[in-house]
Amino acid sequence: MLAQTQLTLVGKKIREISESPYFSKNINEYLSYLKNIADKLSEEGSNINEGIVIASTIFITDAVNFFSGSTSKKIPYEVVYCLNDACQQWTDENTLITTALSSDIHGFYFEYVNLSTQNIIEQTLNIKPSHDLIKISLPEIYRRRPLCSTPLYHELGHYIDSTIGFSEFASLNFCKKNKFDILPIFHNFDKNTWSNPDKKELIDHKQEMWTNHCREYFADLFSAQFVGRSGVDFLQRLAGNADASFTHPSTKDRVKVVEDFLSGNSNTVVDMLNNIISLFSKANKVKQSGLLRPSSPPDITSCFDNIRPFPITDRSHLHSFINEAWDYLCKTWDNPSGVWSELSKDTIESTVNDLVEKSIRNFMI
């Protein structure tokens, strides 16, 4: 009974959202998909296994909740456009990125609908999804600040990793062979602590910690291959030089791995991940065969010096342009010259972000 009531309520919510004027064609397609599931469950509920009805109802409810931030005019379209482009370079899946705005200044994170349940719905109800839905959250105050939204590339990296399983695969095939010291933090750990068989619980946690760190390195590198150093630079400014924790490597180690990758220096973390990505690519699980360094950045100086948007003409510059603009902002903030020397720091920051937004929007059009 409860599942049926929830189904009726969520069905009403789907109809309400569908009537919102700000939706895109893709979102409407996805809503139709959800509506088809709800209709089928209502019509044939008594013939469908109760466990599947409950799981499907939760799936629909979660997906509907994703759209709460997408119904307003507040979507940072330019950033979402860039993220979609980055996502399509890695996966063949038809993804749909929605955004939510968080009141938390550190509120960068991502969620995605449960692909396992989606798979079960497809097999049992014979209803195919129009897209895989991804929701990315960013702090509301950065909504019109594309240069402060670079952590979203990192979050997208987590999505790619979660759906494909690079880090877990790495954990199974590298960590289990006691090659713990592939990751930087374990260089400094007391090896006697870890090799004590009486400390099984600790060893279990060690592997979990290893996997967590691996996830963060992958997400950092995923971001770096598009927006260069600007991702970890933002991290440093936001999080400071944080020490390693159970869930995250130290900021220092994260920056080192990204810098080695960007400068082409040999690095065991980068090599291990490239090795794994290549295996998944050969198995047609991912489009890219390895982490690629960002394309040569365009020279934006002459345009930005004259407070004009930069004309992005090449898709490969779409992301590397963001790194250049970030550098430009940092330099101009510290040492304003030319027309910028007449402006306050706040105006410099908002104007450079505005130029970035306009440059991307012009490319989109």
Partner: protein, 101 residues
């Protein structure tokens, strides 16, 4: 999250848990789902024993998470090793696996 909150990968095993729950409650489970659960178990064991020089990528994403779970949960491997065919996926064996994951 960028630097503070652990990532949650638990969702990767949700479909397997759901299929096992259906089997455990004697529900009418479509053959395709039964087959998937069995394949995931088989692939997870292959992942655990595979040689570092000849790594193979599993068909199902869930197999990687199940292999991780086998590694960290004492006794799960023994329980899963009883599932040697699709026909072995009976309510009792499904419930035994669910007790671990």
């Amino acid at each position: 999250m960028l630097y503070a909150v652990p990532q949650n990968e638990a969702g990767s095993l949700e479909s397997i848990k759901l299929i096992l729950k259906l089997i455990a409650t004697n529900s009418d489970v479509p053959d395709s789902l039964r087959m998937m659960a069995y394949d995931v178990v088989k692939e997870a064991f292959s992942l655990i024993v595979q040689n570092g020089e000849m790594l193979e990528i599993p068909q199902h994403r869930e197999s990687i998470s199940l292999a991780m779970e086998i590694q960290r949960t004492h006794g799960l491997d023994t329980t899963l090793s009883n599932i040697t065919s699709q026909g072995n996926l009976l309510p009792q064996s499904a419930q035994q696996v669910l007790d671990y994951i």
